[in-house]
């Protein structure tokens, strides 16, 4: 009997041992071998980025020239003040603007510069004296009596980052505090013109926040401007639908070098640009222009312009060598039978530039050549296209597409028109502010949605390189936010561009798609024939052992009683 009992005991131990091997060895082995590889991602940092708290710091330097302060007041300068503004946009977005204003008196060299005969020369010589940092603003306060500015002009905004502000002479009795507090609203107005405005920043964030909060104009501006991208391809196309009649020549290379390239060089910190051009023959517009007897010309109405682009676009061809967004500028020379051709706006008036643009796509200009030759001309007629006329239109459209807004100056302000580059330093700064904010917003949205996606679908393999891209995007984002906070605009833009690149690369990595569609039911169909016959005996014998133990305990209890 004892032998049977030991035999039974051995059986029990064997069953327990097998169950233990299956649980300790088998299940971890199966788990390990069928697991999808998921590299570690900085989820907590990504969650922090989800709620965007941006602080934008601007350094404002206010230089008080001789004659604006009394000697006692001058003794207390230099001093600095900080002004902060906070805007809670929505639950996840907080904007904080911090203006650090430093007051100081002008140096002797600056005084000399301010004594130049005209404001323009003063601006230039002030620029020679000191290079102000990207994103900062310098305001020179000049006395009421100064002859630099015409009488009705209060503020002159130069080509760089300096402005001249005319202020009334302060009475010697007033304390410096009062002087500065009377000065402050005027300085603020100058800074708002030369640096970012709240509406610009809201427009840059338009993807994140509800539309109602952004003013209509700045929303239209931001929707017209092409999305922020690390590079752009600009393509000029000359459409010649009638090479039999017109042999067109355009000096596009020279025109690009003299009109477009200076602006692009100036915009170099924002993105890389590449320019090319082509001539397309027999390319026609999508709509048939209507002949208008009253002006004996063909006309295109504003509401039919929407149909013009599509058939042309098939011929334009995409850029084979890069995947950057393309800005198209088309110069359309109507064929001899359909000349001249004019574009009319909604109120049926001819548009002087004879051009229109399509938001985020590019511009089209119609160039009539019918008056360049007489009826007796021998076909094909050689025609040289006047590039200055064409490039003037295209340059204006390009500025719109790139989001370089025309600033509406408050009354009493004079904005110095920008030189050959077509863009003043402070205008570039404004663009850089909104581009940095836009980049940061886009990159953080991309990264958070990627993290969300990876979190939700546990089947996706996360490779090491994706994890690396994600964490470099996160570090760049954090660096960009920190640089904005520190007021280093150039670095902030740089980091935000890196962040956007890395986040896009991680988001569109093809390896994320591999195992996405492996359904669970197929997995179970494969596992059941193996697991069912293996687990049933183990479970049954475990149950049996448990039953026996319970039985024995009950017996023992009964015996004790």
């Amino acid at each position: 009997m004892a032998a049977i009992e030991t035999e039974k005991q051995r059986g029990r131990y064997a069953a327990l041992a097998i169950a233990a091997v299956v649980i300790v060895l088998g299940i971890p082995l199966w788990w390990k071998t069928t697991e999808t590889y998921r590299a570690w991602l900085p989820f907590s940092q990504i969650n922090e980025l989800d709620s965007l708290q941006l602080q934008l710091s601007v350094e404002v330097e206010v230089v008080l020239s001789r004659g604006t302060l009394s000697p006692e007041q001058q003794k207390k300068v230099p001093l600095s003040q900080t002004r902060e503004q906070e805007h809670q946009i929505d639950a996840k977005t907080v904007l904080r603007y911090r203006y650090e204003t430093k007051y100081r008196t002008a140096t002797i060299m600056e005084e000399d510069a301010l004594n130049q005969p005209s404001a323009q020369e003063a601006d230039l010589s002030l620029h020679m004296l000191s290079e102000s940092a990207c994103g900062s603003v310098v305001v020179y306060i000049i006395p009421e009596t100064s002859t630099l500015l015409p009488a009705d002009v209060k503020v002159y905004v130069g080509q760089r980052r300096t402005a001249l502000l005319r202020a009334a002479l302060f009475e010697g009795t007033a304390g410096l505090k009062e002087v500065l507090s009377t000065l402050e609203p005027q300085v603020k107005q100058v800074v708002d013109t030369m640096s970012f405005s709240h509406q610009d920043i809201l427009a840059a964030l338009s993807d994140r926040i509800r539309v109602g909060q952004v003013s209509k104009e700045s929303l239209a501006d931001s929707m017209r401007a092409i999305k922020s991208s690390p590079g752009y391809e600009i393509t000029f196309s000359l459409l010649n639908p009638d090479p039999k009649s017109h042999s067109l020549h355009w000096d596009i290379e020279g025109a690009v070098n003299s009109y477009i390239q200076p602006l692009l060089d100036k915009l170099n910190p924002i993105a890389n640009f590449s320019v090319d051009s082509q001539i397309l023959y027999y390319a026609v517009l999508g709509v048939n222009p209507r002949f208008d007897n009253s002006v004996s010309a063909y006309t295109l109405n504003a509401d039919s312009l929407a149909h013009v682009i599509n058939p042309v676009e098939a011929r334009l061809g995409s850029n084979a060598a890069s995947s950057n967004p393309v800005l198209n500028f088309l110069l359309y020379v109507p064929d001899a039978q359909h000349s001249p051709l004019f574009i009319r706006d909604h109120s049926k008036r001819e548009i002087p530039s004879n051009a229109f643009h399509s938001p985020r796509w590019g511009g089209i200009m119609v160039y009539n050549v019918n008056d360049m030759y007489g009826p007796e001309a021998e076909f094909p007629v050689d025609i040289n296209i006047s590039m200055s006329k064409v490039m003037g239109v295209f340059l204006a459209q390009l500025r719109l597409m790139l989001g370089v807004q025309k600033t509406q100056p408050p009354p009493g302000f004079v904005l110095q028109s920008a030189g050959s580059e077509g863009l003043a330093d402070w205008e570039l700064d404004r663009l850089m502010w909104s581009r940095s904010v836009e980049n940061i917003a886009t990159a953080s949205t991309t990264i958070t949605s990627l993290a969300q996606l990876l979190d939700q679908i546990s089947n996706i393999v996360i490779n090491d390189n994706i994890a690396q891209q994600v964490s470099s995007a996160v570090t760049s984002l954090q660096a960009a936010v920190a640089e904005l906070e520190a007021g280093n605009l150039a670095f902030a833009l740089q980091y935000s561009r890196e962040a956007i690149l890395a986040s896009e690369r991680a988001f569109f990595d093809p390896s994320l798609l591999h195992l996405l569609y492996f359904p669970d039911d197929q997995k179970f169909a494969i596992y059941i024939p193996l697991f069912l016959p293996m687990c049933v005996p183990i479970v049954l014998s475990l149950l049996k052992i448990a039953n026996e133990i319970r039985q024995r305990r009950a017996d023992k209890l009964a015996k004790k009683d």
């Binding site: 035999e7 590449s274 060598a321 016959p533």
Partner: protein, 576 residues
């Protein structure tokens, strides 16, 4: 009979058309178009379009980027400069060129897609460039070129020399791939037409209506880009973009059996004008076999004849110059009509080749390549290139080359063995073909088993093996024209000629269709279920053996005794 040079021979071909006004600047680019119609002896008709754009620029110039395009298509120019391409040849072909019936083609091409590219020797990562280039070209031509990867790319050591300038010999910068299965259709023709300066709106390209072009026995379209000499001194280079389209219209399907051809019947269009951008626009009709008009009637007749030496043969052509108003006559339209009157025999082409798979079963097989030298008394060497996918494992020791029942030892063999799932076999040989002979090259192979995800969606159709390529300098009957810059018809200047006594020919064999052992594709699930069952059964008995308790049982009565007892009980006899 009068032979006239159709055009002034002193005008070099790159010169732009004389501008009407003196103010016009001389343009750096020019284009030409031409159509060659050759009546074939089978009654079929061969039409070959060639469009050439020459551009005096330098894509490979360091530093300065070429970005302003006029006649040269921007998409191709960007590809050339981005990937530092020195020479690019791409062809899409539907159908197989029947050399024995049709003679040598003007521009040879294998069935399916073929792409070969010479990269500039400054390229560091040739494979990376090649991969990206195939993807970009796949987008430009709407073709499956993105399926080109390392398993079907080879680097031929001798067969594909650059056709343009430069003696590149380092085949590290060469990549060659074919996709024999590629189906060519309208969606490939449309982007190809878009590259032409006049599109399909004017000039010869108006004839290209896809419903007619693809209703033919053979259709091949190609793009060749190469640097060429700008002038006879070759002091500077120009880029040449040559777009060719070759069609063979079948006598019975397109011509309804009537031996009468016209432009309208072939293309359902007639010609009305030249492309205004082209400096020359011509139609050539091959009338070599028809000097007295006994073979066919050609109307409208033209007195302008041109002779050119093409593929070792002096041929005569009727020329129709579309830039001249007289060509179109009173109807303002040109509709060439060919009416056949008699029959004639064709000279057999000097070199042709065929190929087939022999053997039975699904384990081994043998590839036979037959190369015919029909020259009556001259022997000449040919280069044979075979690129075989890795899943056919070639037994290179079984390679035999025999001509006239005697072994013919190749004087040069370059063999690169395959690597599974990485690269194909590459076999290149220089074989001397004796005069008037058939040379047979055989090699045995074993079919590999693929992984189940590596099979194509219809694996029972078989797997394609690309055409063999035979490149040869064939002795010429007439002196070849070695001056490559002199003006002559485009179709005669595709392969540069280096010497007068021979001409270059490339012959493609048929692609092979090989059956591989194909599994039943529900097999993996069956295998999983079966192995699971076996494991479960084995495991069950093992488990039983380990956990069961064994007891010694009382030995029971033997079976005989028990049976006896049953019977005894029935009988009422006492038990044993």
């Amino acid at each position: 009979m009068i032979f006239l040079k159709s055009s002034i021979s002193t005008r070099w071909f790159w010169a732009p058309s004389a501008a009407p006004s003196s103010a016009a600047v001389s343009l750096p680019d020019s284009c030409e178009e031409e159509l060659l119609i050759r009546p074939l002896h089978s009654g079929d008709i061969y039409a070959s379009f060639q469009f050439r754009t020459l551009w005096d620029t330098d894509f490979l110039h360091q530093g300065k980027k070429v970005s302003h395009y006029r006649l040269f298509p921007k998409s191709l120019g960007q590809v050339l400069s981005k990937f530092s391409v020195r020479e690019l040849h791409i062809s899409f072909t539907q159908g197989y060129w029947r050399t024995m019936q049709w003679g040598q083609p003007i521009v040879p091409s294998p069935p399916g897609a073929e792409l070969w590219v010479w990269f500039h020797n400054t390229v560091a990562d040739v494979d990376g460039n090649w991969k990206e280039l195939t993807n970009v070209l796949s987008g430009i031509f709407c073709a499956s070129l993105n399926f080109i990867d390392s398993t079907n790319t080879v680097q031929p050591s001798a067969s594909f020399k650059p056709l343009g300038l430069g003696n590149a010999t380092d085949h590290r910068f060469l990549r060659y791939a074919t996709l024999p299965r590629e189906i060519v259709c309208t969606e490939n023709l449309t982007p190809w037409k878009k590259l032409l300066p006049c599109g399909s709106k004017a000039g010869l390209a108006v004839l290209m209506k896809s419903e007619k072009l693809f209703h033919s026995s053979f259709h091949s379209q190609a793009v060749h880009i190469r640097p060429v000499c700008k002038d006879w001194q070759c002091s500077s280079t120009a880029w040449e973009l040559r777009q060719t389209l070759n069609v063979v219209f079948d006598l019975y399907t397109s011509g309804q059996g009537k031996k009468e051809w016209s432009l309208f019947k072939m293309f359902s269009r007639t010609l009305t004008e030249a492309c205004p951008l082209a400096s020359s626009s011509k139609v050539y009709v091959d009338v070599t076999d028809n000097p007295e008009g006994e073979l066919f009637d050609l109307s409208p007749a033209t007195s302008v004849l041109n002779t050119a030496v093409v593929l070792g043969d002096r041929r005569t052509y009727s020329v129709y110059d579309l830039t001249q108003k007289e060509t179109f006559g009173q109807l303002r339209s040109l509709n060439l009509v060919l009416r056949w009157k008699g029959e004639s025999d064709m000279l057999r082409p000097l070199l042709h080749a065929e190929r087939y798979v022999a053997g039975f079963g699904l384990q081994t097989g043998e590839i036979h390549t037959l190369i015919y030298n029909n020259h009556p008394y001259r022997a000449f060497p040919v280069l044979l290139l075979d690129s075989v996918p890795w899943y056919l494992r070639l037994y290179i020791h079984t390679l035999t080359v025999t001509s006239k029942t005697r072994e013919n030892k190749p004087s040069y063999i370059h063999y690169q063995p395959s690597k599974d799932r990485l690269r194909p076999h590459l076999l290149e040989m220089l074989v001397q073909l004796p005069p008037h002979s058939v040379t047979e090259v055989t090699v045995q192979f074993e079919r590999a088993l693929l992984k189940w995800t590596e099979y194509t969606p219809d694996p029972n159709h078989g797997f394609y093996v690309g055409s063999s390529v035979i490149s040869a300098l064939v002795p010429s009957v007439v002196a070849m024209d070695t001056n490559n810059t002199q003006e002559r018809p485009l179709f005669s200047s595709f392969f540069p000629t280096k010497e007068e006594s021979s001409y270059f020919v490339r012959v493609y064999t048929e692609p092979l269709l090989v059956n591989l052992p194909t599994p039943d594709f529900s097999m993996p699930y069956n295998v999983i279920c079966l192995t699971c069952t076996v494991v479960a059964v084995g495991y069950g008995s093992f488990y039983n053996l380990l956990t069961r308790t064994f007891q010694v049982e009382e030995p029971s009565q033997p079976l005989a005794k028990r049976l006896a007892n049953v019977i005894r009980r029935i009988r009422g006899v006492p038990l044993l």
